[in-house]
């Protein structure tokens, strides 16, 4: 059997992944107890009323019909309307994309360098620092985001008065118009992610730095930066890119806590609310958006993985 060449294979793989992701997301949401009709009625409707409500929302159709219907909608650029608010999903997403994108980009800008620094310190920092850095990373990543947010607010806002404790973005202006309002949400997003990322990367880095060619590079006097960027980075490119992809996808959905705590209306809050109201079309669309980001990143990771043909082919 001949395998397809790389770009074609990658494309096929991503299409397959996205199709599978959309189906699994759909099934997951459908498998959660209760549906939108249930939750709209809040337990107060008679079975007949509920049935009517379901029929109105198209929830009475069989699972695969609903899925195919939604899928064909997405493919033709119309993901449908929210079951709860009746508003077009495209509109809901577009309204919130700005906030989430701004948060995400800013959080990445903070967390990527922080991740690298933390992970490097844990593996290659001064010897005495390494266990401390390791423990810090794990502990930092283990704290729930709500606690991180509370600590940031108590410290940067209440105690030092540097930034507002919540972020009521001015109505009708772009999210970046008041950068001071974004500092705390961005840190709330970025700090745990940086620690989490570092926890993941340090393993890969530790694996690479013990290889003899890194030690040799040190003996030849190459600078830490050269070793990091030329010797270690290419070898961990795949896990790092994969991490970035998952982080990015996670950010879209994981922004929910920061958005809720700081009073921002973004995609994360939309996803979480839609899950809790079983607003399947909305969950689908937002989750699929996040999945697309991850899948693209994972493909990139496959592409940058160092390819080493074997010294000798083995069956």
């Amino acid at each position: 059997m001949r395998r397809m060449p790389w770009p074609g294979r990658a494309l096929a793989k991503s299409v397959l992944l996205m199709a599978a992701a959309s189906a699994v997301i759909f099934l997951c949401t459908a498998a959660l107890p209760g549906d939108a009709a249930d939750l709209i009625a809040g337990g107060r409707a008679t079975p007949e009323e509920l049935a009517r409500l379901r029929a109105e929302q198209g929830l009475d159709r069989s699972l695969h019909v609903r899925y195919l219907d939604w899928l064909s909608g997405v493919l033709t650029g119309d993901p449908g309307v929210s079951l709860i608010t009746g508003r077009p999903i495209g509109e809901l997403v577009a309204e919130r994309a700005g906030v989430t994108l701004t948060l995400t980009v800013a959080a990445l800008a903070v967390s990527v360098p922080l991740t690298a620094t933390l992970a490097w310190a844990a593996v290659r920092g001064p010897r005495w620092l390494r266990p401390t850095a390791n423990a810090l990373i794990v502990a930092g990543a283990a704290l729930p985001q709500t606690v991180v947010a509370a600590a940031l607010v108590a410290w940067l806002s209440a105690a030092w008065g540097l930034f507002p404790p919540v972020s009521m973005l001015p109505a009708g202006e772009p999210p970046w118009s008041r950068p001071d309002l974004l500092v705390l949400p961005v840190l709330t997003l970025a700090l745990p992610i940086a620690a989490y990322g570092a926890a993941l990367l340090r393993g890969a880095i530790a694996d690479v730095v013990v290889r003899p060619y890194v030690g040799d590079a040190e003996l030849r006097g190459l600078s830490s930066a050269t070793i990091a960027f030329r010797y270690v980075l290419p070898m961990i490119a795949a896990p790092a890119t994969r991490l970035l992809a998952v982080t990015l996808g996670g950010l879209v959905a994981g922004a929910a806590v920061a958005e809720t705590l700081f009073g921002l209306a973004g995609l994360g809050e939309l996803l979480v609310t839609a899950v809790s109201t079983r607003d399947v079309p909305v969950v689908q669309s937002v989750a699929l958006l996040a999945a697309a980001v991850v899948v693209a990143g994972l493909l990139a990771a496959d592409a940058v993985a160092p390819r080493r043909p074997s010294k000798a082919a083995r069956p």
Binding site: D216, R220, G221, S223
Partner: protein, 481 residues
Amino acid sequence: MSRRGLTVRGLTVTDRAGTLIVDRLDLRIVPGEVLALVGPSGAGKTTVLRAVLGALPSGLTHAGGRIEWHGAAVRAPRRWRRRTVGFLGQDPASALHPLLDARAAVREALPRAARTGGAEERALAEVGLDPADIGQRRPHQLSGGQAQRVALARALAGDPELLVLDEPTSALDPAALALALEQVRRRRGDGRSVTLVVSHDMSVVSELADHVVRLGPGKGNDVAPRTPVRGATTRKPGAGAEPVLEVRGVTVAQPPGGLPLLSDVDLAISPGETVAVLGPSGSGKSTLLRVFAGLHPAEHGCATVVGEPLPWVVTERSPAAVRALALVGQNPLGVLNPARTVGAALARPLRTLRGLSRRVAREEALQLLATVGLPQELAYRYPAALSGGQRQRVALARALAGGPAVLLADEITAALDARTAALVFDLIDMLRHDSGLAVLAVTHDPAVAARADRVLRVEGGRLHPDSCSHHDDRRLSLDAL
């Protein structure tokens, strides 16, 4: 600023247990001179180099002494190394960045200003590598000798003031060796360059060195070499004996399915026989051994071992066939798992191939260490804490542990001084004599070839019986010192 070269005063290095590895060593190399550091395996040569570079491996401590460069202690060793030092380590095959090709590896050592006008190509050509062919290859596509020359070219590329070479010629054939020596010799007497070289090869030492410093034996903890077992080599294999390894019409391509490297190899080795294979670097000697070991599929041909058919894929081999062949690879650092202690590495084949119990295997492992001249406490060390020659002997011991009928030995004495090498070959001779061990030894070393029953030479992609003399008089035995 005074240019007084490199001075080492009273250098003392100990390991964690406090054992002296290097004891109050004094060295002085003035600009334009080459100093050679010699001594038995495990004597502390590499350790001295690393101490000079200011980067002892973890596990060793700089317990005393001063190292001065042009009369002053080195402040920022790393920057100093980057700017001033060219370094070639003892295990070049493992020391090359796996993702950089040969050109890029050399380029890295060049000062920014010198990175134009094909400087990389020139550097490669000077050590006898064809830049057009080798330039694009990554380390896994290089032979042992090629990798060593790439690393040498890299060390020389920036024309460093201080050149530190650890066994720079261990994997080189005579032609390549001559080129390499020429490169170092150029530095002599230029009034600027300081060169510190470790070698066990007397011809190298006598050609290059202005001074020779000998580190005492057993400074580390190696066993003193034994007197050779007389008469071991006198036993000639019986003419009519059935060959233990028989190979017919084998064609080997590198990479598999690519252009043939060796064609129509016919070979028969009788029990107790030693066959040496010589040939230029990159001619396919190692690849041939890998074919026999089942790590590289042959294109054509068939083989039998101890009367059993020998499929090319190791998983298809019968247990007897697997047990009959043992390979000692060319890169001793690479063939030992960094995460397993020496003892564990040795006990494993004793258990799987010889079926010993855990306890017996552990004791046998200690015995094995002794037979290759290593102290038993090494059993508890990880490979990173061994000297180059110690690693090589551990790899050999591991291969012997399974009790093979044919030993596929790829440069097994390259990292060893002459006396230790002699010890190893005495051991092998004894096994040949006692249990009919056959040896297929790939080597550059005329001393090894001299001990072989037959010598074959790879030339033009074929394996010929050797016509010329084994005794390359350019290489002298270190024993003569």
